[in-house]
Assembly symmetry: C2
DNA sequence: CTGAAAGCGCTAACAG
DNA sequence: CTGTTAGCGCTTTCAG
């Protein structure tokens, strides 16, 4: 570790921050004239505009958005809050980027936080964002009910739910067609000759997990496979628990010929386990949500691919429409997923 | 798309937001007493505290952090700004998570933005964050000089650079040991018998790219391989450009026996190209920065693995130390990378 | 222990 | 075209 000392620096004695008043004084104009120039309002002579511009630069003036907002009639902070599963998760990262791209076009800044599927974090994060007066909240939720947001919504804060549907509140939401896509994944395995298909899923308190689970069971039923032949493992939350569950599955008597892994980390854990067991070319697997480099594995991983970037963009677009005063009925926006056959999902059972 | 109409909702008629004044009136106390209760200041009787608490809940009162901050003596917004390469990049996501975890412990919210290695974005994003009066800025930069931040730094805004070193300003920075790690990667290939090693790197206007390039050249020199035998391709920014560059390399006369891919997306592009050419078991490759599922590929990808999460945590820790008034000399913090041999980097040249 | 008055940096309303 | 006044929601100061 190198150190770069600089005893002469102003590190210890902070310079005062210039205010609009300071700029006005230096430019020899009224404070309101400075306000007009800064905000690009009309009716200021070129002469004064130039003076103000000069003073602004000399003082390195940066307007205080929040101070202005206190009195401004629209009371918009030009700031929104985003809550995703985890900013470290690739799915979340793409949702985030979708939101950011739409927000940046409007000069809106984005607070981002990780939910970790922890109800207490949901409460804390939302509360902190509200105290900062975000114009909109784009939320992935985990609490069983979002009714606590109704008063805030009535005060004009826009609320859009993303990835999961809320309960106890009427609001816009943007989600993937979880159940249909899960059914399609299951059907794909059935079409390739499987009847003994294991479902590996996330915690059932998550809306997405329940939907995917439902799609799996409904598809089995649709082709007449009795529920008693279903193999469902719930509560898998990361690749490690999924790995262990998969290992257990194949050390038991009832090893399946195929796996439907209903979450990205779960897919990774299951793939690792199949490798470990040397079964990666014997047991079929379809994952829900794409996994990075899934196309370079051998066999490449067949997945139901979601559209996280589009989900983020759409959620943000809805949010800004509302901020702009659009007052149509709240809507549930369902984005399609697409099944991408790559190899692992097309393995047939050994007869 | 389903729609859930609710004509009775208050969507159209926003409820007024309660202020501290409203709470005081309802509780029948002075506004300062409410302030004391909200902020947990001492010297309020239990009776009044209870009244205030009740009024707070009845009105669903949320204090306005920014309004309070206007007059507060410390003038802290409890908000920081983070600029990363792209929130959709896995490396950035982990840095972000490291920052978030440290910030969340202190009740500090994080603005996150993507730089896209675009100088004009750097300017815009920094300016927007400053107008929101962040307490600290944790920045990945791309402009050739960060001197424009000096006035802001002197006003007390903490600035910490992350992943890349700044120029023209004295400040804390947290980076990976790029040059040494690149040299180690190059040495690893040399140790496995290679002399014809291609360097595939990012744009040379990026500090990290220059450092890694330097490590590569210095290692070649160290073992006496003349610069004329080096094969360096610069300016690769994503997997597509890297794929194309790699394909070109092997259709030319001077195909290398090994590749040092000096960035995560570049590694992915090169791996795809080697697959395409059927050379993945013939040509060695070492990547800089880990790639997801790199251990499940065949051969698994040898990488120099950085510590993005630790980088994020350290940057945030330094930032909060400064916010808390720590006034030590600015320091350059270098985090080590570790070479992870997995197979692709241990392939020997065909004699 | 409690509260009234002043003012943070800015914008709205109005007067010149 | 320009500037003055009031006040956003809160904390500070200071008097009870």
């Amino acid at each position: 570790m190198t150190s770069m000392s600089n005893p002469e620096s102003s590190r210890t004695t902070p310079t005062a921050r210039a205010t609009m008043r300071d700029v006005a004084a230096l430019a020899g104009v009224g404070i309101k004239t400075v306000s007009r120039v800064i905000n690009g309002e009309p009716n200021v002579s070129d002469a004064l505009t130039a003076k103000v511009r000069l003073a602004t630069e000399q003082l390195n003036y940066q307007p205080d958005l929040h101070a202005g907002n206190l009195k401004r009639s629209d009371r918009k902070t030009r700031t929104i809050g985003l809550v995703v599963g985890s900013v470290a998760n690739p799915f979340s990262g793409l949702v985030h980027r979708g939101v950011e791209d739409v927000a940046a076009d409007r000069g809106v800044a984005v607070f981002a936080s990780s939910l970790d599927d922890d109800p207490s974090r949901e409460t804390r994060i939302v509360s902190e964002m509200l105290s900062r007066r975000v114009d909109a909240l784009i939320l992935t939720t985990v609490k069983q009910n979002q009714g606590y947001l109704i008063p805030e919504q009535q005060r004009g804060t826009v609320i859009v739910f993303v990835d999961r549907q809320p309960a106890g509140i009427d609001a816009d939401s943007v989600v993937t067609n979880n159940a249909e896509a899960a059914a399609a994944a299951t059907a794909h395995l059935i079409d390739h000759g499987h009847r003994s298909i294991a479902y590996l899923g996330d915690r059932v308190d998550l809306w997405t997990a329940r939907e995917r689970r439902r799609g799996y069971f409904e598809q089995l039923a649709a082709v007449g496979i009795p529920t008693s032949e279903a193999i469902a493992v719930d509560g898998l939350h990361d690749d490690q628990t999924s790995y262990e569950a998969t290992m257990r599955l194949f050390s038991s008597g009832s090893a399946p010929t195929a796996i439907f892994a209903a979450q990205n980390l779960v897919t990774i854990g299951a793939v690792r386990a199949l490798r470990q067991l040397g079964l990666q070319r014997k047991v079929a697997i379809v994952g829900f949500d794409d996994i990075p480099l899934g196309d370079l594995l051998e066999p490449a991983i067949t997945v139901v691919s979601q559209q996280p970037y589009a989900i983020g963009r759409l959620a943000a677009t809805r949010a800004f429409d509302r901020i702009d005063g659009v007052d149509s009925d709240f809507g549930l926006h369902v984005l399609p997923s697409v099944l991408v056959p790559r190899g692992s999902g097309e393995i047939r059972p050994e007869q």
